[in-house]
Amino acid sequence: MNTINKKLSLGQSLFSEEIRISYKGPVDGKIITFLADYIYVINELSEKATRKIFKIFFELAENISKYSADKIKLKDGKEVGSGTIILKETVKNFILVTGNPIKNNDLIPVMENSKNINNLGHDELREYKREVRKDNTVKKDSPNIGLIAVALTSGNPLDIEINPIDDETSYFSLAVKVDK
């Protein structure tokens, strides 16, 4: 859990990085749109970085909302996924980090897809995105299409970490860098 703690920590790493957004809790449409709008008012972000972080944020937040194994029932009866979202700024990059428990059954295809994504260059990724998007056997809201888009937008590899919680669930953490 050490690396996760490092990725998600608020207190220990403030000397080398600044936390621009930190949220932990249910991730529904209201929270996603609120935080997405907030990204646009963060002064430190350049126009280019803002646009990229905005796009990446939506995909990662939606994945928590839909696939987190930690479900929270809201007053309107809807059940949404819960997790952690942090936007950090370092000297060279902005890093969007998300963390949530995930069912191991959902984890295997995500891991395989992420490994595949990280082995592809920019043009190959574009081609892969087009293939997956055209494939009608893939669900429209599949997390795999979202992760391809995240990697393309970021221009950096997906940094994934998995830590087993029990036989059925693991803690899934994903960090995505956007260059300044």
């Binding site: 449409g29 997405a36 796009k55 939506f58 888009a149 393309l152």
Partner: protein
Amino acid sequence: MENIYIEGSHTNFFVPTVEFNAETGVCVLSGESFLEDTIEFYDPLVQWLEEYTSEIKRPMTFEIKLTYFNTSTSRSILDLLNIMKEYEDDGGEIIVNWHYDEDDIDMEEDIEDYMLDTGLEINMIPFDEDEF
């Protein structure tokens, strides 16, 4: 055939503005698209376009002015563009204009990828965000 008008909103989700006009053949999709149920939102648009291209068959201009759309929306956009390409292949007159921020390289690549996927010619029209 009825027109479709949906006013975009920016509250719990981002709903794009839709203006599909059966009399003029001008269709506009603008704003941001991040929806609670993408299929439920876009299916009526797909059906409208199928009906227009099979029954009305007049010249069409399709204007896309989306500044953001998520990946589930991107599949529905592909569905719309595929119908337009079929219409063109069957002799229908259609112009597709896609307006995008000139600094948004990712959007520019997205449009290029749609052209490769569908074979449809899309006029890429960059704009300066400050003037949009």
